[in-house]
């Protein structure tokens, strides 16, 4: 994985000092909270309902074991002994003291981490496929391109006060595991007819109150124009994105209001101009970065055998592991969704244990997924049982990846100052209702996503089943949506009818699964059955 050189290190060190200075000016009263707010937001620090929340960047979701271990230590030292992994592949701490933040950032900088641009109206942490570099189906590892973009977007002087936040995602396989087309810019690395690698650009996707699927805006951007093209996309947005209404300020609204073709015309015009400016790093820089992502020293000729005689292990292997590009290895996902737990939360001890497993059994690498789980990307099949035993002992071996128990949920009204309703208790109740492994196995893949408000941090628009918490005359109420997908077959979920109470929505989800099981044909997933039979049979069962 990528290692900082002296320049990268200096950038994060300088940032720590700058932020320390900003906090000093705030604490001395030189800065009012209003003045401080946009500054702290550029550094991932939110003032939430009960305390400050600090969001630490995990670029494209990749972590070393040393970094992971520090995340656990920070949870102990500065928080309440746990951290929360997010849908942006980052980690958040919910109980932070303002005066501690410069020291936390200084500790992070020592292991090449930071909180730069994890919030605010700027280019955010760049996300990617959590199986990058390991997946059997990718055409190339997408992370070097994400790293190139990370550096370009860090403190880009022209794009620090955009109309609104800006999220970029880079993937490199047909199976989209990162919701690429639901980003402000989605980039898919592709191979053209001549066999050259390039970047396919999508723009104007997003969730929030106006969910949109990004249209393709350019089929192929050559690698030596990647930064220049990105810069053109951003400049058009910075100049013409709406600033009169924060709910209409995302690039999706600009692309929608101009129309895709007009946005493309403007970008191409700006691109043609910017190509005359010497702003593109040489390909040698991309090659330098790529060298950091060379495959680890995989052993050749390993056995593909796995002893599956332990039934619990067999269940977990079937559910939580994926094919690896290298024979004898697997990709293993650690579910942070135990029955009745808080999706994405891990204790300091669990974080350190995962760090150790990453160090000992996965070439020192871990990944955070947008579904709020952790991945050990390169585990030898011969070690898998040992790894699983260690996870099981730590309460981390829940075999529910992509099932109804593997819920994405935002922090909701338990923490968030924007929320209308709680998300976590709904997630807990649903995971308890469907707690039995047999039942989850019977229902199979069912992606359920819960947001506590219309901002859609819990990705409810992209859920096979989505749940949206709303405030109805002072009472928490939950809308149910069906048919969303974040995969290569991206679709937006539709509201099925009137909302429910907290318990009512759990009952409704259960009824929906019954309708699915009664109508399922062959190997259909819930989503496939829903797409085939439509909403009516579900509505009848739920509303009677």
């Amino acid at each position: 994985m990528y290692k900082y050189d002296e320049y990268d290190q200096q950038m994060v060190d300088v940032r720590v000092e700058e932020f320390r200075d900003q906090v000093r000016r705030r604490l001395s009263g030189e800065l009012t909270e209003d003045q401080f707010k946009p500054l702290r937001l550029q550094n991932g620090l939110y003032l939430q309902l009960h305390a400050y929340m600090l969001r630490v960047a995990v670029p494209y979701g990749t972590l070393s074991s040393v970094q992971m271990r520090l995340l656990g230590d920070i949870a102990d030292k500065y928080d309440r002994g746990y951290g929360h992994f997010t849908t942006r592949q980052n980690i958040q701490y919910n109980w932070i003291k303002l005066e501690d933040t410069p020291d936390i950032l200084a500790e992070l900088a020592k292991v090449e981490m930071h909180a730069i641009q994890t919030s605010g109206n700027c280019i955010r942490n760049i996300s990617s496929d959590q199986f990058a570099g390991a997946a059997a189906d990718e055409i190339i590892d997408p992370r070097p391109y994400a790293e190139l973009l990370r550096q370009w977007s860090s403190f880009h002087p022209e794009f620090l006060v955009l109309p609104r936040k800006f999220k970029i995602c880079v993937i490199a396989s047909d199976t989209d595991r990162a919701a690429m087309r639901l980003h402000d810019i989605g980039i898919k690395m592709v191979k053209n007819d001549a066999g050259e690698i390039g970047a396919q650009f999508y723009a104007g996707g997003g969730m929030g109150r106006t969910p949109m699927i990004a249209p393709m805006i350019r089929e192929f951007v050559p690698l030596d124009q990647l930064i220049t093209f990105s810069e053109a996309c951003l400049r058009v947005y910075n100049r013409y994105g709406r600033r009169d209404n924060k709910y209409k300020a995302r690039i999706k609204i600009l692309v929608h209001e101009l129309g895709r073709d007009e946005y493309v015309r403007q970008v191409e015009e700006e691109f043609a101009h910017l190509l005359t400016q010497p702003i593109e790093p040489p390909l040698a820089e991309l090659e330098r970065i790529k060298a950091h992502f060379a495959d680890p020293a995989f052993e050749a000729g390993l056995s593909e055998e796995l002893d599956l005689s332990d039934p619990d292990f067999r269940l977990w292997v079937g559910r939580n592991t994926q094919a690896h590009k290298q024979a004898g290895y697997v990709v293993a996902t650690i579910s942070l969704k135990p029955v009745g737990g808080i999706p994405g939360d891990a204790t300091a001890d669990q974080i350190r244990l995962m760090a150790d497993l990453g160090r000992d059994y996965s070439f020192d690498e871990l990944r955070v997924t947008h579904a709020q789980n952790i991945v050990l990307p390169h585990v030898r099949k011969a070690d898998l049982y040992t790894v699983w035993k260690a996870l099981d002992d730590a309460g981390l071996a829940t075999a529910n990846l992509d099932t109804v128990g593997d819920i994405i949920a935002c922090p909701g009204l338990d923490y968030c100052s924007l929320a209308n309703a709680r998300s976590i208790p709904v997630a807990q109740k649903i995971s308890e209702r469907f707690g039995s492994a047999e039942r989850q196995a019977q229902i199979g893949e069912l992606k359920l996503k819960i947001s506590g408000c219309i901002n859609a941090c819990g990705h409810h628009h992209a859920g096979h089943i989505g749940i949206l918490g709303v405030d109805k005359k002072g009472l928490e109420n939950y809308q149910l949506l069906f048919g969303g997908s974040e995969g290569a077959d991206t679709s937006l979920a539709k509201i099925i009818g009137p909302g429910f109470t907290e318990d009512g929505v759990v009952d409704a989800v259960e009824k929906a699964t019954e309708v699915y099981l009664a109508n399922k044909q062959g190997e259909e997933r819930f989503l496939d059955t829903y797409r085939r039979i439509g909403m009516d049979p579900f509505k009848e069962a739920i509303y009677g």
């Binding site: 320049y7 550096q151 794009f159 955009l162 702003i279």
Partner: protein, 144 residues
């Protein structure tokens, strides 16, 4: 008139009254223009030669359109004074400078020590913006 608090130029300060972008084309003797956030800086390109002062107004520092305006003019070869005016905050001074601003007239005077720290904060930068004449980190990594 708002005072220029920081200026990084050796030439004499221009203090001609700035006209709006809309009226600049007809005001054939005007040498100073003021760009508001919604203005298209590119409409000035045919008359760059007679400009010696461009003011870019930031009614609120969180509106970042002026950063693009400044860079566009510098990319087109404008060499005169580029003055940021309005709601300027210390923490953005260095970034404004990198987009081509070389004079700063904040609504409210800024703490000079903090401001000097902000201008000198970044020894290195990740991007080549042409206008600030600084080498990007990638260029230092791969000397020609």
């Amino acid at each position: 008139m708002v005072e220029v608090q920081f200026r990084f130029r050796d030439d004499e300060a221009v203090n001609d009254p700035a006209v709006t972008v809309d009226s600049f084309a007809e005001q054939s003797n005007a040498t100073a223009v003021r760009i508001e956030p919604g203005d298209d800086a590119r409409t000035l390109l045919p008359q760059l030669d007679r400009l010696s002062l461009v003011e870019v107004n930031f009614p609120a520092w969180t509106d970042g359109r002026g950063y693009s305006s400044a860079r566009i003019l510098r990319e087109a070869g404008y060499k005169g004074e580029m003055r940021a005016v309005g709601d300027l905050v210390i923490d953005m001074l260095g970034h404004l400078q990198r987009c081509g601003f070389d004079a700063f007239a904040p609504d409210k005077a800024l703490n000079p020590t903090d401001a000097q720290n902000a201008f000198g904060r970044w020894d290195n930068v990740y991007q080549a913006t042409v206008v600030d004449g600084r080498q990007a980190i990638w260029a230092k990594r791969h000397p020609a």
